[in-house]
Symmetry: C2
Subunit: 234 residues, 2 copies
């Protein structure tokens, strides 16, 4: 049993992936509990309050000793100083949290583009609305968010030459955008050169490269936040 | 000049209001800069990076000495220990942040119900989609979120008998829901008695009552997150 237990759906990278990537880059062990023998059943128990304290609203949930944290950005903010994935300064930590919360907002827009009416409906039941929303996402929101991430990069990484959880999260975000919207993504590439360089630099780091080549990395798929529906990519 | 400068659009309570309410309940002075002589022009300058450090993605932004923080939940997390609006324990603080981030998610759904296709379009340009989304919001999402807030209340307030920023935020959230969806809100009331009692308790606190009666409290209106379109409330 590792010091950290991550509870997140198996079968998708999803909102667990920024947390996995931070642990992987840090070389710190974690249990990805729902990938164990019990599978996703454990998530229902966690949402019912099995871990004690505040009942989580939704996964991911992280347990570390007595502390239970939920929400991606809050989990990363909690683990990062403990596993060496954020700079020391108060300014930098506030900036890292703000960037991760902005990534969270962007992911929700990347999700809602295929679910503009309701999460409880299938994509197939909200296709005309999705198509309408996708045009605005591609033309307005993607350039705005990705351009903002671009200007936040101060060196090889967001914080100069020191890698942090924000970089591993941006790596996965850019990969997700390219999976979901390959054509729009290709058109935007020239406007975000630093973000692309950061993506490639993160992918080439030895621990990340080993992780990406391992069975622990689940490929993107259409049950996830980032989904590829070719008809939306235009 | 107060120790804390809040930068948020004037004219709406908006996402600045949970921050104002925390300061008001604490009795701590803050400058609501865009309500000064310069008005909202100052926001454009802040978004362009005038405060230094990370350029904020969107208001609200808080400046405290050298530290600049953006995102509602991050600002509350930063100020609360300094102004006495959160309990001391690590578990409680993690829980407070998780609840505030869940409030943030709920507010986005309360916003997107009148903007399901694009923020850049008027409500009038996305009315059929709004009506379709509103049905799911009212039947599925409002009960889910409000029910989850209800079960998080452990005493008079979320954390027993100690008021925190989570309570002032929940007060405003419930008020916003009642403004936007008076009929759906009335139907749900019986299922969330603790939340309603908390709302009334917060409203009756001397500093909050004085604030609500002052010109500093901007009424809800249809330029805000919470909007009242009667046709969506059914």
């Amino acid at each position: 049993v590792a010091d950290y237990q991550l509870y997140y759906w198996s079968g998708i990278p999803g909102r667990g992936e920024p947390i996995r990537l931070a642990f992987e880059e840090a070389g710190v062990a974690y249990d990805d509990v729902a990938r164990g023998p019990e599978g996703n059943k454990v998530i229902a128990r966690v949402l019912a309050g099995e871990l004690g304290g505040l009942k989580p609203f939704a996964p991911p949930v992280l347990k570390h000793g007595d502390v239970v944290v939920s929400h991606v950005a809050a989990i990363l903010q909690y683990i990062a100083p403990r596993i060496g994935m954020v700079p020391d300064g108060e300014r930098e930590r506030a900036a890292a949290h703000a960037i991760e919360l902005t990534i969270t907002d962007f992911w929700l827009e990347m999700h809602d583009v295929h679910h503009p009416i309701a999460m409880s409906l299938y994509y197939e039941d909200q296709k005309p609305e999705s198509k309408r929303r996708a045009k605005h996402l591609i033309e307005e929101r993607m350039p705005k968010y990705l351009g903002w991430f671009e200007q936040a990069i101060s060196g090889d990484y967001v914080f100069g030459n020191t890698i942090s959880y924000v970089d591993t999260s941006l790596f996965h975000t850019l990969a997700g955008v390219a999976f979901a919207f390959p054509r729009a993504s290709a058109r935007l590439a020239a406007t975000i050169p630093k973000l692309h360089a950061l993506h490639d630099r993160v992918a080439a780091r030895p621990r990340i490269a080993a992780y990406l080549a391992s069975p622990r990395r689940t490929p993107f798929n259409n049950h996830d936040v980032f989904r590829h529906y070719p008809e939306l990519d235009d």
